[in-house]
Amino acid sequence: MVNLLRLPGARFLSHLAIVFVIWAALMRINDGIDPLMSYYLALAAMYATAMFGMVILVGLSGQVSLGNGALMAIGGYVFALTSLNWQTVPILGWQWNPIWSMIFAGFGGIAVGLIIGWIGARLRGPYLAGLTLGIAVGIPAIATRFPEIFGGETGLMLTVPYPTGGYAPTVELAPIDEAPLDEVPLEQAPLEQAPLEQAPLDTETAGAGDMLTADNFPSAESSPAAGDMLTADNFPSAESAPSVSALPSDVALPTDIDPIAGGDALLAGGAFVLERWQASLAVTAACIIGFLALNLVRGRQGRVWRAVRDDEVAAAVSGISPAGSKISAFVVSSFFAAIAGAVFAQIISYVGPGAFGLGLSLSLLVGVVLGGRASLGGAIIGGVLLVALPQLVFNIAGDRGWPANVTDNAPNLVYGLLVVLVVLIAPGGILGSLKDGTRRLLAKSRSAK
C-alpha cells in the first residue's frame, strides 16, 4: 500500500495546508473582533512565534535558554535601525521596504545565535542557563551603553509603515503632528496627545512595558509603572513613554507595500484599524515561522535534535555531531526569536531595553513550559496563555476589588507556581497532559470493549 503522506512533497503540501487553514481562520477571526482583541491576538501570535523557537531549543534539543528575549531584542533593534536609517537596500539599491528589515532582523538573529550556540553547545544544563541569563541581562545593557545608536534607556521610536491603500486612520487616532516620526529624538516626539482613556488605541504604549502580562491596560490608569512585572529595568512609565497613537498619516511611506491582509480585514466601518493590521502582520509572521518549524520538527531534523537530547554519545556514534545539532537548534530558535522581535517592535512601535529585558526572556520560558515544551502546539497554547491569563487574573481582581499591588503581581505569582507545578506533576505542560489524558481515555475505552 502506498502511503500518500510519504510521497515526496506530501509533507510540504500537508504542512502548508495546515498552516494555511490556521492562517485563514485567524485572519477571519481578526476581521470580526474588536480592536482590543485584535491587539491581544497580535501579541499572542508574536509570543507563539518566539516560542516555536523555544520548543525547538528547550523541548527538542534540551537546552534551557533564558536568552531568547535578548535575541528578540536583536531582531527588534535590527528592524528599527534598518528601517530608520536605510532608504534603499545596500548594494542592490532597491527601495526600502519593511519586509527587508524583517529579513535583516532574521539574519541578525542567525548571526548572534551562531555565536551563542557555539559557546553554549559545549556546556551542560546549568552552565548554559547561566550564560543565557547573562545574555538576557547583558544585551539590553549594551543597548543602554550606546545611546547614540540604540537610543539608550528610552529606546527608539518607530514609525510603523502600515498599508495606506486609501484608508485613512480613524479619527480617534491622535492629532497628527507636523514632523514625521522617524529619527525625531524622543524628547521632541509628540507625547501624550491622547489621554489614556482613549484606549484601546493607547494600549500599545501601556502594553510595551509589561512582559509577562501582555497588557497592563486595566491597571494602566492606577499605576503607570506597574507594567513591568518581571523586568528589573524600568520601562519608561506611561507619562514619559512616547505615545504610539500619534501616528501621523502623512509619513513618507514606501508606496509598494502590499497590504499583508486583504484590505477588508483592515476596515471597520471603512476606517483603518491599527490593531487589525498589527494582528494580521503578527499572525502572518507566526504562520510563516510556524510552517518552517513544523517542517523541521516533523522531519529528520526534529529526530536529530531529540536524539542528541536523549543520548549524546549514541547520537555521535550514529553520525550526528552533537555540537552541530545543538548549534543548529540555537540558530533556528534565535532566527525565530529575531523575527518575533521585529514583529514586537512593529506592534509596540518602539524598541528599548525595558521592552526586551529579562522579563521577556522569562515569560517565553514560562509560556513554553506551561503550554508544553515538547511540541509546537505547546507554543501556541503558551502564547495564548501569556496574553489571556493576566487578563483573567485582572478581571477577577477587578471584581473582588483587590489593591493594585496584589493585582499587578498576581499573574506572575500564578505563573511561578504553575511552572513549578508543571515541572513536578506534568512535565509535558498543558498540551502534554491533554495528549496523555486522551491516550489514557482511548486505552480505557479499548480495554472496556
Binding site: 559545549r122 546549568p126 552552565y127 547561566g130 541569563l133 541581562v137 545593557a141 499591588n405 513549578v420
Partner: protein, 292 residues
C-alpha cells in the same frame, strides 16, 4: 595611582557581597548538583523580612538574625517542596523549577511589600573614612561587610573541616551512595546544605540592601554576577567563589570607575563567556562542565 587604589578599595565591599551570593550557589551545587537560580529571590525575600523587622524593632542586629533564620527556613522550604520532588534525570526541569520559584517569590514580594524600590536604613556609617589627611573610599560599613564575610568563610571552613556534620556534608556531596552506606543520613544533610545556603544568601541580601535599594527585582543583576563568579571559580569550590567574588568586585569597581558603571554587566558577561570558552569547568575545579 591613588585613583586606582581608591577604585580597588571601593570594590572590596561589593566584592565581598558578590562572593557571599556565589558562595550560596556553590553550597547548593556541592550538595545537590543544582544551580539554584532562585537564590537571589530568596535573598530578596528575606531582606524584605529583615526590613520589616528593622522597621518594627529598630534593631539591625535583630533584623540580621531574622534574615538568617528566614533564609534557612526558605531554603528548606524550596528544597522540600520543589527540588526534592523533581525527577532525578530531569536537569532541564530542575533549572526551570528554580526560575519558577524566582518568579513566584518576586511576585509575592511585590504583593506583600508594595511601593517599588525601598531604601534600607544604613546600620553603620557609610561615608568614606578620613585618615592621613584624606577621605578614603571605604567606610565603616564596608569593614562590617568584609568582616562578616570573613567570619562566615571562617565558620564554613571550620564546619567543613572540623565537624562531623561538615564531613558528612562533604561525603554526601562527593558520593551520596557511599555516604549512605557509611551511615550518613544523606537527605537530612542535603537539607542542611540548603538551609545553610539560604542563610548565606540572606546575609548577602541584607548586606547589599543598604548600599542599593530593595525591590522585588533589585537583585537580578546580583544573580548574574554571582553565577559568573561561581562558574569561573568552579561551581564546587568555596575558595573559588570567595576569591573570584572579591576579584569580580574589584573589576566592577575599576570598570565603573575608569569608564562607566553601565559597562560593568557587559564586562562581567564577557568574562563569563571567555571563561566558558576557555575553561568551562572553572579555575578552581577539576570537575567537568563540558559533556563528552
Amino acid at each position: 595611582m591613588t585613583t586606582f587604589i581608591d577604585y580597588v578599595l571601593g570594590g572590596l565591599g561589593s566584592g565581598a557581597i558578590i562572593a557571599l551570593m556565589a558562595l550560596a550557589l556553590v553550597l547548593i551545587w556541592r550538595s545537590t548538583r543544582v544551580v539554584n537560580f532562585a537564590q537571589v529571590g530568596q535573598a530578596m525575600f528575606t531582606t524584605f523580612i529583615a526590613l520589616s523587622i528593622q522597621t518594627w524593632t529598630g534593631s539591625w542586629y535583630i533584623a540580621l538574625i531574622g534574615a538568617l533564620a528566614a533564609g534557612a527556613v526558605l531554603g528548606v522550604i524550596v528544597q522540600y517542596l520543589v527540588l526534592r520532588p523533581v525527577k532525578r534525570n530531569d536537569t532541564s526541569g530542575a533549572i526551570i523549577a528554580t526560575f519558577g520559584v524566582l518568579i513566584a517569590l518576586q511576585a509575592a514580594a511585590g504583593m506583600i511589600w508594595p511601593g517599588g524600590s525601598q531604601a534600607f536604613p544604613q546600620p553603620f556609617n557609610n561615608s568614606g573614612i578620613e585618615f592621613a589627611g584624606r577621605v578614603w573610599p571605604i567606610s565603616i560599613y564596608d569593614f562590617v561587610v568584609i568582616g562578616i564575610t570573613a567570619l562566615l568563610v571562617l565558620g564554613l571552613t571550620l564546619l567543613f573541616t572540623k565537624t562531623s556534620l561538615g564531613l558528612s556534608m562533604r561525603a554526601a556531596a562527593f558520593n551520596p551512595e557511599v555516604a549512605k552506606l557509611s551511615g550518613v543520613r544523606v537527605s537530612r544533610v542535603l537539607t542542611f546544605g540548603w538551609a545553610l545556603a539560604g542563610s548565606v544568601g540572606a546575609v548577602a541580601g541584607i548586606l547589599v540592601a543598604p548600599v542599593s535599594t530593595i525591590s522585588p527585582n533589585s537583585f537580578d543583576i546580583l544573580l548574574v554576577y554571582a553565577f559568573t563568579v561561581a562558574v569561573i571559580g568552579g561551581l564546587d569550590s568555596l575558595i573559588g567563589a570567595i576569591s573570584i567574588g572579591v576579584f569580580t568586585g574589584l573589576i566592577i569597581s575599576l570598570v565603573s570607575g575608569y569608564s562607566d558603571s553601565g559597562n560593568a554587566p557587559v564586562v562581567a558577561l564577557l568574562l563569563l563567556a571567555l571563561n566558558l570558552i576557555l575553561k568551562p569547568e572553572g579555575i578552581f575545579s577539576h570537575h567537568k562542565a563540558r559533556s563528552v
